[in-house]
């Protein structure tokens, strides 16, 4: 009897776990397998095992460029997540204010950026906002009497340009999550707190945040990973083939793409992928703290 009881949760989660095993775990194992072979242009069909050779080469590539890519990626993730969470929290709070009649309209409008495929949004921003000749930013600047700027040519402005675009693309989801979480907070908590004479900040700190934390933690962590491995924004804005913008910011993934994938050396790039995966695991040990429950 007891044994059967123990099998129940496994039974419940089996379909999902099996599917994940096929679609997510198998490719990782396969990548690991390829990383031990010399599969490349010259050995496309007749590749064989070469042991740890690729890893040796991948580690040798871990030069200063790679280290600075890690640094940039961490700054990028932290800046984006902090700004995103704070902004989303206040916007969601505003949306939940009593008596705001147009709430549904605002919510729908704010979701708009989310409804567009990522590559469309990025190209739109590249051309409609940041472009030196036709971008809205430079139209505004020249209208105010300034001279045209190239937002993507230098690293620091390009970093901010990427950050703003990432916020634009990611905020809708965060707002939606936090908004949902805020609605689940039991109103009676606030009533009794008000009776006890608690102020706005105290209520936020002791009631709202603890209540919504378990609900938004999963999506916040998921978003952290998505931000960490964000590729499209940096790549399409600054490194698209044929229209490089001049900025040379590299995140881990763009660095790997440039150094391993362009060469069509699948063995080497698989080794680099696995190494990056290991780095992400190490990175997540730090974020792990946010996951602890109970």
């Amino acid at each position: 009897m007891k044994k059967k009881k123990r099998a129940v949760p496994w039974l419940y989660s089996a379909p999902a776990l099996i599917l994940i095993g096929i679609v997510v775990v198998f490719p990782i194992i396969y990548t690991a397998y390829i990383s031990f072979t010399n599969m490349n242009l010259y050995h496309w069909n007749d590749f064989h095992f070469i042991g740890l050779e690729n890893y040796k080469r991948a580690l040798l590539k871990a030069d200063s460029g790679f280290l600075s890519a890690i640094g940039v990626t961490i700054i990028w993730t932290v800046v984006n997540m902090v700004v995103q969470l704070v902004l989303a929290y206040f916007i969601a709070l505003g949306l939940n204010a009593k008596g705001l009649k147009l709430k549904r309209v605002y919510k729908t409008l704010l979701m708009f950026p989310w409804a567009m495929p990522a590559y469309v949004s990025i190209l739109l921003w590249k051309v409609c906002m940041y472009n030196t000749e036709f971008g809205l930013l430079n139209q505004l600047v020249t209208a105010l009497g300034g001279s045209k700027m190239n937002y993507l040519a230098e690293n620091v402005p390009a970093f901010f340009a990427c950050t703003i675009l990432n916020l634009w693309m990611a905020l809708p989801f965060m707002i939606m999550m936090i908004d949902g979480a805020l609605q689940s907070v039991d109103g009676s908590y606030y009533e009794s707190a008000t009776l006890d004479g608690a102020g706005v900040w105290q209520k936020t700190w002791y009631i709202t945040l603890p209540c919504i934390r378990p609900i938004i933690a999963p999506s916040a962590i998921m978003t952290t990973f998505t931000t960490f491995k964000q590729f499209d924004i940096v790549y399409l804005l600054t490194k698209q083939k044929g229209s490089l913008s001049g900025a040379s910011i590299q995140t881990i993934i763009t660095y790997a793409h440039q150094n391993a994938f362009v060469s069509n050396n699948y063995g080497l790039s698989s080794a680099v992928s696995i190494l990056i995966f290991v780095i992400i695991i190490v990175f997540s040990v730090f974020t792990n703290r946010g996951l602890k429950e109970e």
Binding site: I20, P27, Y106, T108, Q139, G180, D186, I216, F225, I281
Partner: protein
């Protein structure tokens, strides 16, 4: 009393102005895109174009709707996204319920492992999935794509739903257990209605992911009439040399509209069932 009223009025006015400003900021690129989509190909761009197109025309929309298999792509997108949603949500709901309610060995380990797996950049899986599909004859089939999409969204869904299930007090279930309800009955009759906002948000997330995905869709589907909307439009516009900006923006607007309609429709179901369920701390 009146002072409180005016104070409230001020507060609301301020909030409304704030939101109008924020919405405007969020919509600027889209408005620009919309203006572009209404201009004819040759005069796209040019100074002072914003909200003031030179030659207003619906030609771009006509071209996409009639010259491309738009409706076919729309149908493919709907089939794929709804299919994925059903599979992913079906699997994830039961799994996350198990992870939320049962304390079994290795529970946290698996949860943590799942999140790590999610960190593997999916683009790197392309080659392996190709091999897998080829072996099982899933290339060029919707089933294959649905499985890949569902598998990759399952992790997110499990985590998201589990977080919400955790906030539902176990007491409710215990009460109904005494009434003789089985676990599954409880899940369907009590937990799911209470978790409605979370389930809707997660489902929409899955839907949007599939709706906007183009890389797998164009790699594993081999004929143009099997593409999804995002995939088909990507294929049309991927090349710098073939890109017409007015056409591109028109396509972008057309892809987004169905999603926006979905957003608007689900809004009223988004109010939490928790407070309505009559559970107080």
């Amino acid at each position: 009393m009146t002072r409180r009223k005016t104070k409230n009025l001020l507060r609301l006015t301020f909030l409304n102005i704030f939101f109008i400003a924020i919405c405007f900021l969020a919509l600027v690129p889209i408005l620009y895109a919309f203006t572009l989509s209404l201009s004819d190909g040759s005069s796209a761009f040019g100074s002072g174009l914003f909200l003031n197109p030179k030659h207003v025309t619906l030609e771009n929309y006509r071209r996409i709707l009639t010259e491309e298999p738009f409706l076919l792509w729309l149908k493919n997108s709907v089939i794929l996204s709804v299919g994925t949603m059903v599979v992913a949500m079906g699997f994830a709901t039961t799994a996350s319920y198990a992870f939320s309610r049962f304390r079994f060995k290795g529970r946290m380990k698996i949860l943590f492992l799942l999140i790590l797996l999610n960190a593997f950049p999916q683009i790197l899986s392309m080659f392996a999935i190709f091999r897998l599909f080829k072996t099982f004859g899933l290339l060029d089939s919707r089933l294959g794509l649905i499985l890949v999409y569902a598998g990759s969204m399952c992790i997110f869904s499990i985590w998201n739903l589990k977080g919400y299930f955790d906030t539902i007090p176990v007491e409710i279930e215990e009460a109904s257990k005494i009434d003789g309800a089985t676990d599954l009955q409880m899940l369907v009759k009590i937990v799911l209605p209470l978790a409605r906002p979370a389930i809707i948000v997660t489902a929409v997330m899955v839907l949007i992911y599939v709706w906007n995905e183009y890389l797998f869709a164009t790699t594993f589907m081999l004929s143009a009439d099997k593409y999804t909307l995002a995939g088909g439009l990507y294929q049309l516009q991927a090349n710098d040399y073939s890109r017409s900006w007015s056409l591109f923006t028109a396509a972008a607007v057309l892809v987004s509209v169905p999603i926006l309609i979905v957003f608007f429709c689900i809004q009223k179901y988004m109010v939490s069932g928790l407070t309505a369920g009559g559970v107080k701390g």
